[in-house]
């Protein structure tokens, strides 16, 4: 399947939904990728089933602080330059590119790199959502080394990383991103087609475009969008979608802890016929509770939509008084495995609760207007 510039609007909208509050505003990535695809032509999107086992695949995306890129604009040739510099370092060309994070702008950057270099993008990613740290990627969980990896800054300066420890890599690239202006383009996780087949969350690029189409065609009140969204998820590799809550934000507090945006939002139903819902945030929406009862938790997806427009809202744009609808969606099966839960369950984010799949919590849901 060929993806042209005209697919990007739906892809960004779907990616913002799957970003579960994190991932930053994909708007500038969208603009930059659109320029590349218009200039260099559409990108070929291939199924993981069609990838050669011996293919040499890398991931590419932006790493850093979304709030910084509000002022430090990306350049349209950053992905191409980063890939060229990576190929020079490893002494070979790349056969295919894959996204490491579908949630937010990193769903788009691989398309720009692939279009510019004339290689395909594999349909899928390494998270199925947005998550804050490299060791939470499916690639890392499956044992793929993050390096050799490369970071390229706004001026074309390059840093090379060589370590087998994902934790060390995560620490180093964070520090480097800060020194390189707060936002870099990273090429990482080189692997074979065979390795990718064992670790990819498949089909998430095409699903994100489909999700975007559903959101666009049913734009308007969040009540209208629920059924079409539920149907879209029903025919995906994600689990079931549940309406968790509808109301307005009556309390929102956040602070920066260890470089992360940590906070809590409290949402009260419009006519106060239900106890309030609270959402714990660490860059992404991680745990949703009604009273003491958990109604959804990471790695299942929790997403917040603007009630009037059904537009996904980033955690950094949450605000007192906003009218919102909250949905929970079962995560892709990969993250339900014990070795994956070991790095993404609520305890990994400091919440002292067991992960319970959202479909098992669903009997507790109060179905309010949705």
């Amino acid at each position: 399947m060929m993806l042209g510039a005209e697919s990007l609007e739906d892809l960004s909208l779907g990616a913002a939904f799957l970003a579960t509050g994190g991932g930053g505003d994909p708007y500038v990535s969208y603009l930059a990728t659109r320029e590349v695809l218009e200039d260099r032509g559409p990108t070929e999107l291939i199924s993981i089933d069609d990838l050669d086992d011996d293919a040499y695949v890398v991931t590419i995306g932006a790493v850093g602080a979304p709030s910084v890129s509000l002022e430090l604009l990306p350049s349209v040739d950053d992905p191409e330059k980063a890939l060229l510099a990576f190929e020079k370092h490893v002494g070979r060309t790349v056969d295919a590119i894959v996204s490491f994070e579908i949630g937010g702008g990193n769903s788009l950057i691989p398309l720009a790199a692939a279009s510019a270099r004339g290689v395909p993008v594999v349909d899928g990613d390494g998270m199925g959502r947005a998550l804050p740290e490299a060791q939470m990627m499916t690639y890392a969980i499956a044992g793929v080394s993050p390096t050799p990896a490369l970071a390229l800054d706004y001026a074309g300066n390059v840093a090379i990383f060589e370590t087998d420890s994902t934790a060390t890599y995560e620490r180093h690239i964070r520090a480097m991103a800060g020194a390189m202006g707060g936002m870099i383009t990273a090429v990482e996780h080189p692997m074979t087609g065979r390795q990718l087949k064992h670790s990819i969350v498949r089909d998430t690029i095409s699903f994100s475009i489909e999700l975007g189409r559903v959101l666009r065609e049913n734009r308007g009140n969040a009540q209208r969008i629920a059924d079409p969204l539920r149907q879209a998820f029903a025919s995906s590799l994600y689990g079931e979608m549940f309406h968790l809550y509808t109301g307005k934000i009556v309390d929102y507090a956040s602070s920066i802890v260890g470089g992360y945006d940590v906070g809590q939002a409290t949402i009260e139903s419009f006519d106060r016929d239900a106890p309030p819902l609270t959402i714990d945030i660490k860059n992404e929406y991680l745990v949703a509770r009604i009273g003491d009862q958990v109604v959804g938790s990471v790695p299942d997806l929790i997403t917040v939509l603007d009630y009037e427009t059904a537009t996904p809202i980033n955690a950094e744009r949450l605000r007192y008084g906003q009218r919102v609808t909250v949905y929970g969606i079962g995560c892709p099966e990969f993250y339900r495995r014990p070795n994956a839960l070991a790095v993404v369950e609520p305890r990994c984010f400091g919440f002292d609760i067991d992960f319970v799949p959202i479909e098992e919590l669903s009997t507790h849901h109060l179905d309010i207007e949705g």
Binding site: G178, G181, E268, E308, Q322
Partner: protein, 524 residues
């Protein structure tokens, strides 16, 4: 001493004459195609009974949609050269990226991206390149460019690159109009640059609007000061408005909320402005509108202007009611209510007809709705109440009860107490609340900066930003001694080191040089 407030909306031009808090005269005229004759007509109407008192009028405050409409309708926009300082970042994303083609074309295709600007930690992206700046200036001169917009990466933190280039442009093109992005917008270079580009493009038009307005009002014998409403509910001196027309965007709804505050004396309340087709519900917090946090598009261009957070319900005096009374709106006969509504001799059952039939309002001919089934009337009435209650509940900041202020021509629709309201106020002169909001406003100034509390202690940082906002307010016409902080917003920035915070300070002050001996509006 007297003040005049005028609010030019899409349909009506409202005007009031105030003596302190007292409304001496009010009028609602139709907005004319040329705007100015409608203003003069409204002015004439409120001065009819006050001939000879022209000398006692100390100021005229104008709220106007002209600049918003110019952008939406792609009129009166002049060509602008865009100079962005930020290379080598942002290659391939030139100014006006993402704009609709038609409005981008109005601004022409002169744009320059040059080296310079800063990173989040103050480190230069690049130094300004003397030869590159000189080449831009030469090109601007050879093309006889008249309007220039200058933006720079992280200029809310360090405006020096914008100022340095502006100095060079001014020296080479002394008569050119210039806007610096850090003076009009907030953090987010694309949205701030877009706001600055729209502002620059409106400067020619602003010059003409302000000049013709001042001349016309002077011609009517008013030798007073002139002010223009900003979108945050404060005023700027008309001379200042020549340079910042984009700051008037969305001032209409803001003035309406501010007027409701003035008419009721309430600082915290919900304001429901019911018109012919929609009801706009807004929140007053500390006497000012609660602001929206979403990206605001003006004429399809993404900006980050401050705008009031409004919920628009499809419910107004002209809303069409279904035969069984169960559905009210969002379809409306709109401004054709007089003619199409039953009580006005028409054939369409509207929300106004329902209220008249219920005996709760005396509008038109009640005999024409006497045949309506009482059950239908009851159903529709409770539907209207339910819609407003739900809308208010959505907007209410917390479960604490808040008073509800009803303004606008359609407020007759509210016939019973709304459960969502602690009390309901139906103030006199509510129909011209927007003109009152314009008349009573103070001068405002706002500054947003990124600061590191590790490098600059919080108190010192707030003082620094407050001082800048105060300078902006003085430039806009405020008296320095009266300036006070109206709002401080601090947002911690994720990932950044050093306790980096986006700090925004808004100040308000009294109008400089006015006699306030009779002014009872000072302490809002």
């Amino acid at each position: 001493m007297l003040r005049i407030g005028i609010d030019v909306g899409g349909t009506h031009t409202d005007a009031v004459l105030l003596d302190g808090d007292a409304v001496m005269a009010e009028t609602k005229a139709l907005t004319s195609a040329d705007v100015l004759s409608g203003i003069m007509e409204a002015l004439e109407a409120i001065l009819t009974d006050h001939v000879g008192q022209e000398d006692s009028i100390e100021a005229v405050m104008l709220g106007t949609t002209q600049f918003t409409n110019a952008v939406i309708e792609r009129r009166e926009l002049s060509e602008v050269a865009a100079v962005r300082i930020g290379m080598p970042s942002g290659r391939g994303l030139a100014p006006k990226v993402g704009w609709p083609d038609d409005i981008a074309a109005c601004l022409g295709d002169n744009s320059y991206s040059i080296r310079g600007g800063h990173l989040f930690d103050g480190w230069p992206i690049a130094d300004l390149d003397e030869a590159e700046v000189a080449a831009v200036i030469d090109d601007l001169v050879s093309k006889k460019v008249e309007a220039v917009c200058i933006s720079s990466a992280f200029s809310p933190m360090n405006p020096e690159p914008e100022q340095a280039v502006a100095k060079r442009v001014r020296a080479a093109l002394p008569t050119s109009h210039i806007t610096l992005s850090h003076r009009v917008g907030r953090l987010g270079i694309l949205e701030r640059e877009n706001a600055a580009l729209l502002n620059t493009s409106l400067l020619h038009f602003a010059d003409r609007v302000v000049t013709s307005f001042v001349q016309a009002v002077r011609g009517r014998g008013l030798n007073c000061r002139f002010f223009v409403s900003q979108n945050d509910g404060t005023l700027m001196d008309a001379e200042f408005a020549r340079h910042y027309p984009a700051l008037t965007f969305a001032s209409g709804p803001t003035n309406s909320l501010r007027g409701a505050s003035k008419l009721t004396g309430l600082q915290d309340a919900i304001v429901v402005d019911i018109g012919g087709t929609t009801s706009d519900i807004g929140i007053l917090q500390g006497g000012f509108p609660r602001e929206s946090n979403v990206v605001i598009e003006v004429g399809g261009v993404r900006t980050n202007f401050r705008m009031p957070d409004l919920l628009a319900l499809g419910l107004g005096g002209g809303s069409i009611v279904s035969d069984d009374g169960a559905v009210v709106g969002p379809r409306s006969v709109g401004h054709k209510l007089v003619g199409e509504g039953l009580v006005f001799g028409g054939e369409t059952l509207t929300a106004t007809d329902v209220v008249v039939a219920a005996g709760k309002a005396a509008v038109g001919d009640a005999g024409r709705v006497a045949h309506l089934d009482p059950e239908v009337i009851a159903t529709a009435t409770s539907r209207i109440t339910e819609m407003l209650n739900l809308g208010i509940e959505k907007m209410k900041p917390s479960s604490d009860p808040l008073p509800v202020v009803l303004v606008g021509g359609g407020s007759v629709l509210v016939t019973e107490k709304l459960a969502a309201a602690s009390t309901m106020l139906h103030p006199e002169h509510a129909g011209v609340a927007n003109a009152i909001g314009a008349a009573i406003a103070q001068i405002g100034g706002e500054t947003e900066r990124l600061v590191s509390y590790d490098q600059t202690p919080r108190e010192a940082a707030i003082e620094m930003v407050r001082a800048e906002a105060a300078e902006a307010a003085v430039a806009a016409g405020a008296e320095r001694a009266t300036i006070r902080v109206a709002d401080i917003e601090e947002v911690a920035m994720s990932y950044m080191d050093g306790n980096t915070t986006r700090l925004r300070v808004k100040v308000v002050g009294e109008i400089a040089g006015l006699d306030r001996s009779s002014d009872r509006t000072a302490s809002t």
